[in-house]
């Protein structure tokens, strides 16, 4: 969907750069990128430098940058382009699907986003550039970027360290720094989901989406939160920040 949009807008001087945030690096991202066969730059961010550099806290999020290299919209939710006919119909999951995945899908279906408004704004910017009312001034861009105090900055350092420890095979040490990052940056979903997705709880292709305790040994789960617990606490409708013009 994004690729079709990129092909359409590319002749108008627009480029899409996709960045996969994963401590597993190319190994984690490869199947998705190879299936997509992107024509645009498709990069790997094993230490989440996008979090540090732009304030990315969730996925999918986007940053818009103009021809001069100035950010005109800071990190915000980037819904997939709206499809004719609206959302695809819900697919019934096979009866053997574990209850946790059914519950995750139920919560995920409640996540809200404003694809129409976002994409109308994107097209307006590509068409009009700086004259678009959706291209923000440098002052607005800075003011709208995520709040960052000394604790949040420290949390980013713990997170980067955790990703590197994970990459070097020091999982137990990584967990300690992921925990500190979660404590210091409690509003980052990517910091949590990244850490949760590295816990081997179930086998199979959906292993990285389990993101929570084992039903048999819940005491082994090393984190305060998990995907289902946190989204239920925070409310799926608050998962994405509301889109602001």
């Amino acid at each position: 969907m994004w690729q079709a949009l990129r092909q359409e807008l590319h002749p108008k001087g627009f480029e899409l750069v996709t960045v996969g945030l994963d401590a597993l690096g190319a190994d984690g991202c490869r199947p998705f990128i190879e299936a997509a066969q992107p024509q645009h730059p498709s990069l790997i961010d094993a230490h989440h430098v996008l979090a540090e550099a732009f304030g990315v806290t969730n996925i999918p999020q986007s940053i818009w940058i103009d021809e001069q290299g100035m950010i005109v919209r800071p990190a915000e939710t980037a819904p997939a382009p709206p499809q004719p006919g609206g959302r695809p119909p819900r697919v019934d999951m096979p009866s053997e699907t574990p209850q946790r995945f059914k519950d995750i899908m139920t919560e995920a279906a409640k996540i809200t986003q404003n694809a129409e408004a976002y994409h109308a704004a994107l097209r307006d910017w590509v068409e009009k550039g700086a004259a678009s009312r959706f291209a923000l001034s440098p002052e607005q861009v800075i003011a709208r970027s995520r709040p960052r105090n000394a604790d949040v900055a420290l949390g980013h350092a713990h997170f980067e360290l955790a990703c590197e420890l994970e990459r070097r095979g020091h999982h137990e040490a990584a967990v300690q720094h992921f925990r500190e990052a979660h404590r210091l940056v409690p509003d980052s979903w990517t910091f949590r989901r990244q850490a949760w997705s590295l816990e081997q709880v179930v086998d199979g292709p959906l292993a990285r989406f389990w993101q929570g305790p084992s039903p048999d040994h819940p005491e082994d789960w090393p984190y305060e939160g998990d995907w289902l617990k946190d989204i239920r606490r925070e409310g799926a409708e608050n998962y994405n920040d509301p889109w602001q013009p």
């Binding site: 730059p41 290299g69 713990h158």
Partner: protein, 113 residues
Amino acid sequence: MLLNDLTVDRASFEAGTGWQLKPEGACKGEVCVPLKADPGDPIDVPALAAQMGLPLVAEAAHSLWALGPESIGGRALTTAEAPDLVLPDLNGQAFRLSSLKGQKVLVYAWAPY
């Protein structure tokens, strides 16, 4: 920025933190943090980090440190000037974000989990 040593050469510090060391201080975009003295080359990371308010976390058992970002402006962005990110593609080829200057760019963050 990850460090295997608490001393790092000036160019690596600048590339890793996005802060340029100039006569007027450490600068990012239009923002400059005055420094007591020129930090020299190589850089004593703990001393400079303390002056700039950058957090430094150690994992001593693995001789590894992480230098975190600034928080002086209270926001994730200190300047609206896009940082010159360099990230690898699937084949390990480094790609420089600034190579796209002259086009409108949408940086899209996703994850396989």
